[in-house]
Amino acid sequence: MPKKFNIFDHVLVPKHILLTKEEAKKVLKELGVQPWQLPWIRASDPAAKALGAKPGDIIKIIRKSKLAGYSIAYRYVVPG
């Protein structure tokens, strides 16, 4: 039986980092937005599940990009 596959190893999946409450607050202040104004990610999303994210958390995503080397995005975990 093959071992359990970690989705973060897949080429299409960028790095996801679960932010702590303090980090999240800092990011929101820097961007000057309310959490719901960020793009969302469902709590049932495979990547969010793998991180153990709960609704209300913020996930930092480091995308590889041909244009910018890498770029940073944030997603707000919503129920569903």
Binding site: L12, R42, P46, A47, G69, S71
Partner: protein, 400 residues
């Protein structure tokens, strides 16, 4: 001489120092390029500063300005080339072995976020062990390809006199798929009934079969009985790409294929965006949308800036689910009644809005064009004056 080289090392360390301060101000790729280009060139501190300041200025000038209608620009930039696409292709172009939807139909499919693509397809990469030999690749292909009884038999016929079904197996096909008659019998045992094997002929009868209708139904079930493989994978083709063998499939089932032995799960992809969202998450789906759109455009020899595609993908995945650009997705979920009415099903939108007593805040472009207000909130028109009567900051200030 020694004085000169000292100056160089000094300036290069100064360069490093300056480049570090740029993080966050410039994208990493530009910083990297600066480092590459400036290294080994003799420069004074002033020159380094001058170059870097110039790069920052150029970069900031090339940024999108607040209020710019990026969505409209993206729509036009994708729309114009795709009209050329219509003229050139409305066909299926084959990858020799089977057809894939390409060109405009495929592009519409991506943007509409259809549940399943009209030609689902997977590209399966193999692991280190199976990658380099055709034989090993075939082994994996056999594990993946979905095989039913129909695929290995010459004929499946109904015997009306005895109310039984006669399966005539093809030994060559069986061998090709790596199966034996026993496999077929085993699969048949899942159905209630009696099985008689005569060489390559299997006769199946069952007490359940009481009339012709039932016989026909059972026959249908037997033809589609799974022998091996992964549901949904109709065909597998082995192709050589560079120095490794790659499997291309007709039909898609990402979750199941990723667990198959011999498959490299880190690179295996499908063209079914919803499947990717389900198995790998919304971020992977975003990337997949961009990749798919880009490959369609590239196939057609059209040059569309990737940033437009990124914007489309961002909007489609904004809510954590893959939404279509259209009535049931992005356009249909707009806040403004008038903007929705301007898009499609105008009367329904307006009736619904009337029933619910909706209010249009007139904040978007479409609704402002409709009511003829001036200025429309794009570009410099986006600036508005706000008077905060009860903002806490003001209160604090007035106290002081």
């Amino acid at each position: 001489m020694s004085k000169k080289s000292g100056a160089v090392s000094k300036s290069s360390s100064y360069l490093e120092e300056r480049l570090k301060t740029l993080e966050g101000k410039l994208p990493p790729s530009i910083i990297e390029e600066l480092r590459e280009k400036l290294q080994g060139i003799k420069l004074t501190k002033e020159e380094v500063d001058k170059i870097i300041n110039y790069v920052i200025e150029e970069y900031e000038n090339s940024l999108v300005e607040p209020g710019e209608a990026v969505g409209t620009v993206a729509a036009q930039s994708i729309g114009e080339p795709s009209t050329q696409m219509t003229l050139r292709t409305f066909h299926y172009a084959g990858v020799r072995e089977f057809n894939i939807t390409l060109g405009l139909p495929r592009f519409i499919e991506i943007v509409d976020a259809r549940r399943t693509p009209s030609t689902p397809m997977m590209v399966i990469y193999l692991d280190e062990e199976h990658r380099y030999s055709r034989k090993k690749a075939e082994e994996v292909a056999r594990r993946i390809q979905y095989v039913t009884i129909e695929n290995v038999s010459k004929s499946i016929s109904e015997d009306l006199s005895t109310l039984s079904i006669i399966i005539e197996l093809d030994p060559e096909l069986l061998k090709d798929k790596g199966l034996t008659v026993e496999h077929v019998v085993k699969a048949l045992q899942r159905l209630k009934g009696e099985i008689v094997v005569e060489g390559n002929r299997i006769i199946f009868s069952s007490p359940d079969i009481t009339d012709f209708n039932k016989l026909r139904k059972i026959r249908e079930r037997i033809t589609n009985l799974k022998l091996k493989g992964i549901r949904g994978i109709r065909r597998v083709v082995i192709r050589k790409e560079g120095d490794e063998y790659v499997l291309k499939t007709e039909g898609s089932n990402l979750a199941a294929v990723l667990t198959v032995e011999g498959v490299d799960p880190t690179r295996t992809i499908t063209n079914d965006i919803h499947e990717i969202a389900e198995v790998l998450g919304i971020e992977a789906a975003r990337q997949a949308i961009i990749n798919e759109m880009q490959s369609v455009l590239e196939d057609q020899g059209l040059d569309v800036d990737i940033r437009h595609l990124m914007l489309v993908a961002d909007i489609m995945t904004h809510t954590g689910r893959v939404r279509q650009i259209g009535r049931h997705g992005v356009s249909g979920e707009k806040e403004s009644v008038l903007a929705r009415a301007a898009f499609e099903v105008t009367v329904k939108q307006i009736i619904d809005a009337a029933i619910h007593g909706s209010v249009d805040e007139l904040r978007g472009v479409a609704e402002n064009v409709i009511v003829g207000s001036n200025p429309v909130p794009i570009g410099s028109g986006i600036v508005r004056l706000l008077m905060g009567f009860s903002s806490p900051q003001r209160k604090e200030e007035s106290k002081e």
